[in-house]
Symmetry: C2
Subunit: 196 residues, 2 copies
DNA sequence: GTCTATACGAAGATAGAC
DNA sequence: GTCTATCTTCGTATAGAC
């Protein structure tokens, strides 16, 4: 398979971005981690680092959407738990050394194109998550707002957990978020009961 | 004043960290931005970049605590607005090119000491903010949780706003947070009314 | 498709003059 | 306290052989 090296490069770059940030991720690091041929980088990514990084956060995007898809059709709290679980697992498996690669790129990008790409990914997450919440019974506006809130608080919680090297702040935020979402769920059920 | 150059270096480093991240902040950048003498860096910070960055996020810490202090003694929603206002102003003044320097260091730090330092700052913010919320009438546990929630969601909202180059996600999160905090305020008032 | 070699600049850090 | 010069390492990127 000719694109095997390419895929390894993308996966490795995503992991390194999540751990060391954009400036801390060099080609040498990526090659060392993945074992991919050095010559493959510019073969598959003639645009250089920007193009490789873009592909890496695209992968992070797809991974997130995939991780969220089993929550489709489930209740609001289940969707919330699914999203939180994704981040909790990342923190646990990495012993708090990894976070969100899209966030890492956002706060360190030097090219406007990379920032815009990160922005599109976040928009995509917001839209996708809002879709799940709408399916779960929330009104469109409520779902939109809740999705953005959920993403922002989760991202922040991951950063706090990394900095403190502890799951505690993440757990605190998870509890608050679940409480908030449960309430939205109840309000939606109440409205539905009143109007049917 | 002999420490004038030192102060300029620290301020400039903090600003650059907030804009370009840790890896994107070089001594050359700092010297150019601040106009400080090149020779001053290792004179005031013999520990090199780590020591300078540490001083920079210490300044960010103090700035945040100072910005929050006028909220002391005010209601829960006022404390919340004060905290959110600090970040909103940063986003607006920088046209979405700047964020939190402590977050930037957290996601890109290569030395354990720097991460731990960032962790201590976040802990400090959580404690300080919880103190204000307790003064405002929340119970200690509720105040602790709400403070962490507020910080996490704000940090995440700043990242989303930067990525999308828009205040919209930040506004959405602000609204949700205020709604949540208002509710805690009401619950606390109710309990107080019942027990007095 | 992948390799080695290398160009070229920039990074952090150090030494010694002033 | 500040300067210039320099060391060394590392970064991205390119060229050309295989």
């Amino acid at each position: 398979m000719s694109s095997d090296a390419r895929q390894r490069l993308v996966v490795g770059t995503m992991q390194l971005l999540a751990r060391r940030g954009l400036g801390g991720t060099s080609f040498a690091d990526v090659v060392e981690l993945t074992g991919a041929p050095r010559g493959s980088i510019y073969h598959y990514f003639p645009g250089g680092k920007d193009e490789l990084v873009q592909a890496a956060i695209d992968l992070a995007n797809e991974n997130a959407l995939t991780a969220l898809s089993p929550a489709s059709g489930k209740p609001v709290t289940e969707v919330t738990k699914q999203f939180l679980g994704m981040w909790r697992e990342l923190l646990a498996r990495s012993s708090f050394t990894a976070g969100c690669s899209v966030l890492a790129v956002t706060v360190a990008a030097e090219s406007a194109g990379l920032i815009d790409h990160a922005g599109e990914i976040f928009r995509r997450w917001r839209r996708d998550l809002a879709g799940h919440l709408t399916t779960a019974g929330l009104g469109p506006d409520t779902a939109d707002a809740a999705a953005t809130f959920l993403i922002a608080a989760s991202e922040g919680a991951v950063v706090l957990a990394r900095a403190e090297r502890s799951m505690e702040p993440f757990n605190v935020v998870s509890t608050q978020l679940l409480s908030y979402m449960r309430q939205l769920e109840n309000e939606a059920d109440t409205i539905e009961a009143e109007t049917t």
